[in-house]
Symmetry: C2
Amino acid sequence: MNLPNLPNLPNLPNLPNQMFTLTHTDGAARRGVIHTAHGDIETPVFMPVGTQGVVKALTPRDLDEAGARIILGNTYHLYLRPGDDLIARRGGLHRFSGWSRPILTDSGGYQVFSLSDRRKVEEHGVQFRSHLDGSAHVLTPEKAVDIQANLGSDIAMVLDECPALPSTAEVIDQSLELTARWARRCRDRFLQIRESEPVRRSLGEGGAQFGIVQGGTFADLRRKSAELTVSIGFEGYAIGGLSVGEPNETMYQVVEQTAPLLPAAQPRYLMGVGTPLDIIEAVARGIDMFDCVLPTRNARNGQLLTSEGPVNIKNVQFSEDDGPADPACSCYTCRHFSRAYLRHLYMAGEMTGGTLNTLHNLTFYLDTMRRIREAIAFGRFEDFRQDFHRTFTRRALIS
Amino acid sequence: MNLPNLPNLPNLPNLPNQMFTLTHTDGAARRGVIHTAHGDIETPVFMPVGTQGVVKALTPRDLDEAGARIILGNTYHLYLRPGDDLIARRGGLHRFSGWSRPILTDSGGYQVFSLSDRRKVEEHGVQFRSHLDGSAHVLTPEKAVDIQANLGSDIAMVLDECPALPSTAEVIDQSLELTARWARRCRDRFLQIRESEPVRRSLGEGGAQFGIVQGGTFADLRRKSAELTVSIGFEGYAIGGLSVGEPNETMYQVVEQTAPLLPAAQPRYLMGVGTPLDIIEAVARGIDMFDCVLPTRNARNGQLLTSEGPVNIKNVQFSEDDGPADPACSCYTCRHFSRAYLRHLYMAGEMTGGTLNTLHNLTFYLDTMRRIREAIAFGRFEDFRQDFHRTFTRRALIS
C-alpha cells in the first residue's frame, strides 16, 4: 500500500495518547504498563531485536515462550528488503511475521548513519546507498514516518541524526537542532496520517510516536535537546546517541541527568542498551524500555548469559559438563540440554545451537526484567541491584 | 565409557529379537510395528537424518511435533566429533541429544567410502583420514559395532562395503562377499556385547542389529548377498547400495527382486531413499523403513515439498503470495506463515527460514507416511499410490 497524498492539515491538535500507566516507583526506578492496540507491556521491558522481520534463530512461539512482550523491527532493513509497501500489502509487519504482540520500529536513521561513506546529510533528509545493491535512496523525516506507518508499528520512532562520539559541543549542538527540526516534521506527518482514513487504521487506535533526545555527553546539550523534544509532545521519549563506545560511567551519568528532564507520566526508552548490568543501572536512573542485539548476537557466537555471568560455550572446559547452561533457569534449553551438548552443537556449526542459545539468552534477559519489576513493586530494587552486581560478573562479556 | 575387554564367547546363541509385528498387508505393501526399548514405531516409517546428533535446524520438540518417531544418527560424524566415548559418558546419544524416542545408527561405512581418495579397504577394515583434521583412523566391523554400542542406538547397522556404481559383476561379487564376512564379524561382536554386563544395558534390552544386502544392480548377486546375510540372522535387513545415481526404474526393479528374499517377519529398510515417489514405489514392493536427507537439506535450500509437488520458495512469483507453503498441511509453518514471508526469510538469509521450511518438509514426509499406513490398513494402497502420482509432480525436485 502506497500512502495516499495526504490532505494538508496544518495546526492539527497534538494530543499524545496517554499510553503509559505508572504503577510503582522505588527511588528513581519505575514500574508501569504501556498500553497498545496489540496488548499491554509491563515495564521496565527489554525488546528483542528483530532486524529483518524476525528475531534471528527464533520463531514467534519461541519468543513468546521466552517472555517477549514487544519486539523491535528495523525500518532501514525492512524498507530495503522486502520493502515496506510489500509488507503493507501483506497487512503489516505483525501479520507478515506472525508476531501478534506489540512492535516498536526504529526510524532507520541509526543504520543509515552507520553507512559512513555512503550517506550525505542535508536539511531535507539523508541520501544514502543501500548496503545490499548500492541503489540510491533518500530518507526524510516524513519518509521515516510513512515507512513505519506501512509496517504498522505500535510505537514509531522519529528520524534523528546520530553524530559520532566524541564530537565537539558545536557539532553536537547543530546536530541536536537538526534532530529537533526533524522531530517536528515527523510529528506533523504522524498526526496527518493519524487523522487521515484509512491509513490511520494501519497505525492502530493506540498508535504512538516517540521523540529522541540527543546531545552527546554534554549535560547542557542534553537538557536543550530534551526541552526541544518535549515541547513538541510525543507519547514517549527516547535517549539516543549512547552505547556507542563511551565508558559505562559516562553513559550512566548522561542517563541520570537526562531522565528527570522527561515527563514522568510517559515511557522512557534508552536506545541500544545493553548489558544486563547497564540495564539495571539505567532502571535505577528512571528508564523503562531497552533494546539490544547483545543477547541474540552473543548466543549465535556461543556466549550464554547466566545468573553467574557469561559462559563461553566453546571453551573446552564445557566439553563434558553435564550441567545446564544456567542452573537457575527453567527455559527449554536449560531443562533439556547440557553445556556439553550445546558446546558440541557450536563446534559442529549446527544452527540448532544458535536457536537453543538464543532461547536461553532471551529467557535470561526477560526473566531478569521480570525480577526487576518485582523488586520495584516490593520496594527492594536496591537490594536486587546489589545482589545482581555480586553474582553476575562482567568478565569476558562480548558487548 | 570405553568398552571393556570382552570375554571370548564363541558359539554364542544367535537368537534375533522378534522386534517386528506385521499387522496388515496390501499386495506387497506392509504395515506393522517395530518395538524398541525407546518405544514403538509404526511402519512404513521415514527416519529424519540427525547427522551430528541433531536434525539440522530443529529441536527435539520440533521433531516430535512433525511426527518423527525414530531418527537416524551418523556413526562416522559422531565418532569423530564429539566422540562416541564422550557421548557414552553422557549416558548415550538419547540423553546427550535430548531425543528420547528410538534412534537408528548407520555403521559409518557409507561416509568412509565417500572419502574416495582418503581411505583404503582391507580384509581387516577400512583405513581413512578424517575430513575434519586429516587424522588417521581404522574402522573395522567390530569397531563399528562398539561405536554404535557407545551411542546406545536402538537399531545398529553392520559395516558394509559400498562399491561405486556402475561396477562389474566381479567387483560387486567380491565386495558383497567381503560385506558378508564383515556382517558375520559384526554379529559376533554384537552378541558378545549383548551378553556381557554392564555394556549390554547401553544397547537396551531390545537392542537390534540389521544386516545389509548389497549386490549392485545384478539380480543374481542381490540374491547371493541376501542369502548370505539372512543366513547369519539379524533383527532386520537393509537394502544398501541404491539411490547412488542409478535410474529410478533400476532401483525399483532391484527392490522388487530383493525384498521377497528377506524374511517377511522382520523389518526391511531401504537405505538413503528417497523422494516421496521413491518411497511410495518402495512401499509398494515391500519396504518398511526409509531415511534421506532430502526433506531437511532441500528445506535449507529453499525447496518446500507440498501436496502439489515441490515449491522453490526463492522464486519471485512467491514474493507476494499470501498462501501457506502447502494448503493441505497443518504444521506450525503452514498455520502461521505465508509463502511471501518464507521467501523473505530465505532471501534475507535468516536461519529461522531454514527451521520453518524443515519443520514443514518433515511434516509433509511424515504425514505422507501416515497416509500410506492408513491406506494399507484399509486395503487402498494402490488407490493412494495412483492419486499421489497424479498430484505430486516430480518436476524440479532437487534430489
